[in-house]
C-alpha cells in the first residue's frame, strides 16, 4: 500500500510540475525587445563615462586630479599645465582606458565640479579595443551625445532642446534629493 501511495505521490508531483511549466504558455513573456526598443535605464545607471563642458563650450573640468587619485583601477591619466593667463590649470591630456575601467564611478564621486559624469550609453561594443581608450575629445563627444547624465554633486542634469544645461525636475532625481541638491546650489552660486 505504501508503495502504491509512493507511486501516486510521484505521478502527482510530475503532473503538478508539468502543469506549472505549461501555464507559462498563457502568460506574457517578459522579453525586452532590445534592438527595437532601447531599455529605459534609471538615471543613476553607470554605463559609461563622459566629460561635460559648460553651455558656452568652455571646460568645466578644473584639472584637480581628484578622479585620477580616486580611481581604483588606475585607468585615468591626466596631464596639465598652469594657465599662463589666469589662475588654475589647463588640460594637456585626459585619457580614460574604458577597457580596464570597472565602472565603479569612484571618479564621479570624487569630482568636485561634476565635470566627469556617468551616462546611460551602453552600446560601446567594438571590433577594436583601441577605440575604447578614450581621450578628451571622445569624452566630450560622449557628453554631447547624451541628453542626461548623473553625478552625486549635481544630481541628474539634462540638456534642453536649445543646448542649455539644466537640473532635471525632482521626479527624475534619484533618492536623497535634498542631500544632492544642497551642495550643488552652493557650487553654482
Amino acid at each position: 500500500m505504501s508503495l502504491l501511495q509512493e507511486v501516486w505521490q510521484a505521478v502527482k508531483a510530475i503532473g503538478t510540475g508539468m502543469a506549472t511549466v505549461h501555464k507559462r504558455v498563457y502568460e506574457e513573456a517578459p522579453t525586452e525587445f532590445y534592438p527595437y526598443v532601447k531599455p529605459d535605464l534609471p538615471p543613476v545607471s553607470v554605463q559609461s563615462l563622459a566629460l561635460v563642458e559648460n553651455e558656452d563650450g568652455s571646460e568645466r573640468c578644473i584639472v584637480c586630479l581628484q578622479c585620477e587619485r580616486a580611481c581604483p583601477a588606475q585607468v585615468i591619466t591626466i596631464e596639465r599645465h598652469r594657465n599662463p593667463e589666469g589662475k588654475g590649470f589647463l588640460i594637456d591630456r585626459f585619457d580614460i582606458d574604458l577597457v580596464n575601467c570597472m565602472y565603479c564611478a569612484a571618479c564621479v564621486e570624487a569630482c568636485p565640479v561634476s565635470s566627469i559624469v556617468t551616462i546611460q550609453d551602453f552600446e560601446m561594443s567594438t571590433y577594436d579595443l583601441r577605440t575604447l581608450r578614450a581621450d578628451i575629445d571622445f569624452l566630450h563627444e560622449q557628453a554631447r551625445n547624451s541628453r542626461q547624465w548623473y553625478s552625486p554633486k549635481f544630481g541628474v542634469e539634462i540638456r534642453t532642446e536649445d543646448g542649455r544645461i539644466e537640473k532635471a525636475p525632482p521626479e527624475m532625481q534619484p533618492g536623497g534629493l535634498a542631500e544632492i541638491l544642497k551642495p550643488a546650489e552652493e557650487v553654482d552660486s
Binding site: 511549466v21 545607471s45 564611478a105 533618492g175
Partner: protein
C-alpha cells in the same frame, strides 16, 4: 598524498583518468577536477583551482581604503554588495565610525536582496546541472527584477559598489520600498512553483536524497560554513552568532537539516530564501522612509595601526576579511576568508565513491562561485 596530476596506476586498466573542466558546462565557471573513473564510479578526485586568479589581495595592498571596496565586489560576483560588508565593517571598527540606524537597515536589506538573487541563481544552475532547463530561465528572470531594484538605487546591477564607511553611498530610490514589497509578493507566488519543480520533483528526490552525505564531524573538521554546514546539522550562522548591522533587530530562524545529503543542502537553501523574505518584510516595516543614510566618516580614511577580523554570513557561508593597518591610507595586508573556497575542500571527500552523475549534483549543491574561490 595525491599528486597534482593524476597518473594512471601501472597495470590497472579499469580506471580511466578524465579531466573535468575547466571548460565543462557543470563546473560553474572554471573548476577543474581530475577524476579517476571506474566505469561510472569515481575512484580518485583532485580539484584544481586558480583559473580565475586576479591577485585581489595583493592589489588591495596597493590601493587606498575606499578603493578596495570595488575590488571586493568582484570576488563573489553573484552576491554583489555582500562582499563589501566585512571590509566596510572592519574599517568602521578601526575608525570608530558611527553608522546611522537607517543606514544599517538599508545595508541589511541589500544584503538579503542579494541573498535571494544568489540563491535564485543557484537554483537555476543546480536544476540545469540535473538536466531541467526551464527553472533556469524562471529564476534568472526573478533575479533580473532584484537586480533592477538594485540598479535603480546603486547605479550598477551585479557589482554595485554601494556600501561605504559609515553607511551607504547614496540614499535609496524613492520607489525602493514599494518595489521591494512588490518583489516579495511576486517571489512568494513564484516560490510555490519552485517547490513544485525542485523540492517536490521525484526525479530530484532520486538524484539527491542520500547522495553526497557530509557528516557533522567531517563538515566541522573541513571548515565548511553556510548552507552546506547547516544542512549537516550544525546551527551556525554568523548573523546569529556574531550579529552585525540590523540583524539583532529582526526575527528569523536558522534552518538546519540533520541529513547532510544533497537534498538537505537544496532544502536548507529553500528555507533560507523564505527566511530572507521574512527578514525583508520586517525591515520594510522597520526602516524609516527618510533620514540619514551615511554617518560621519573622515575624508581621508586612515585607520590607526592595528588589525581586525570581521565576518558576515553571505549566501555561501562565512565571508570574512582580516585587515592589518599600519596607520597609512593603504592597508598593510588584506586577507579574505572565502566561504565557497572552504566549502570546495570537501570535494574529494564527497566525490570519491560517488557516481559521476552524483558528482555533478554534489558540486551544484555546494554552489561554488569561482570569482571568490580564485580571487
Amino acid at each position: 598524498m595525491s599528486t597534482m596530476n593524476l597518473e594512471p596506476v601501472p597495470g590497472r586498466t579499469d580506471e580511466m583518468i578524465v579531466n573535468m573542466g575547466p571548460q565543462h558546462p557543470a563546473t560553474h565557471g572554471v573548476l577543474r577536477v581530475v577524476l579517476g573513473l571506474e566505469g561510472e564510479r569515481i575512484t580518485r578526485a583532485v580539484p584544481h583551482i586558480g583559473y580565475l586568479h586576479r591577485n585581489h589581495e595583493k592589489i588591495e595592498e596597493a590601493r587606498t581604503y575606499p578603493m578596495v571596496i570595488p575590488y571586493t565586489d568582484r570576488m563573489d560576483y553573484v552576491s554583489g554588495t555582500q562582499n563589501e560588508l566585512p571590509f566596510v565593517l572592519a574599517i568602521e571598527d578601526m575608525l570608530g565610525v558611527e553608522v546611522p540606524d537607517r543606514a544599517r537597515k538599508i545595508r541589511t536589506m541589500f544584503f538579503e536582496l542579494f541573498r535571494l538573487a544568489s540563491h535564485l541563481v543557484w537554483m537555476g544552475t543546480a536544476m540545469l546541472d540535473l538536466g531541467a532547463i526551464s527553472p533556469f530561465l524562471y529564476t534568472f528572470w526573478d533575479r533580473e527584477i532584484i537586480l533592477g531594484i538594485v540598479e535603480k538605487t546603486a547605479g550598477a546591477r551585479m557589482l554595485p559598489n554601494y556600501y561605504t564607511f559609515g553607511g551607504v553611498r547614496r540614499d535609496v530610490h524613492p520607489d525602493f520600498f514599494k518595489e521591494v514589497a512588490d518583489l516579495l509578493d511576486h517571489l512568494e507566488r513564484r516560490m510555490v512553483d519552485y517547490e513544485h519543480l525542485v523540492l517536490e520533483s521525484p526525479v530530484v528526490h532520486a538524484r539527491t536524497i542520500g547522495v553526497g552525505v557530509l557528516s557533522k564531524e567531517r563538515a566541522i573538521a573541513r571548515g565548511v560554513s553556510g548552507p552546506v554546514l547547516r544542512a549537516s546539522g550544525v546551527a551556525y550562522d554568523v548573523r546569529k552568532a556574531f550579529p552585525y548591522d540590523a540583524y539583532p533587530d529582526v526575527e528569523f530562524e536558522i534552518p538546519t537539516s540533520p541529513d547532510g545529503d544533497t537534498y538537505a543542502r537544496f532544502w536548507v537553501r529553500f528555507q533560507e530564501m523564505y527566511q530572507s523574505i521574512r527578514i525583508l518584510r520586517q525591515l520594510l516595516e522597520l526602516t524609516p522612509k527618510t533620514g540619514p543614510f551615511k554617518g560621519k566618516a573622515p575624508a581621508r580614511i586612515k585607520p590607526p595601526a592595528g588589525e581586525r577580523y570581521r565576518a558576515v554570513e553571505n549566501s555561501r557561508g562565512e565571508l570574512g576579511v582580516f585587515v592589518i593597518s599600519d596607520g597609512t591610507d593603504k592597508p598593510y595586508r588584506v586577507k579574505h576568508r572565502g566561504a565557497a573556497f572552504s566549502n570546495l575542500q570537501i570535494i574529494p571527500d564527497l566525490f570519491i565513491g560517488a557516481k559521476f552523475s552524483d558528482a555533478i549534483a554534489i558540486l551544484s549543491s555546494l554552489d561554488p562561485v569561482f570569482g571568490e574561490i580564485d580571487r
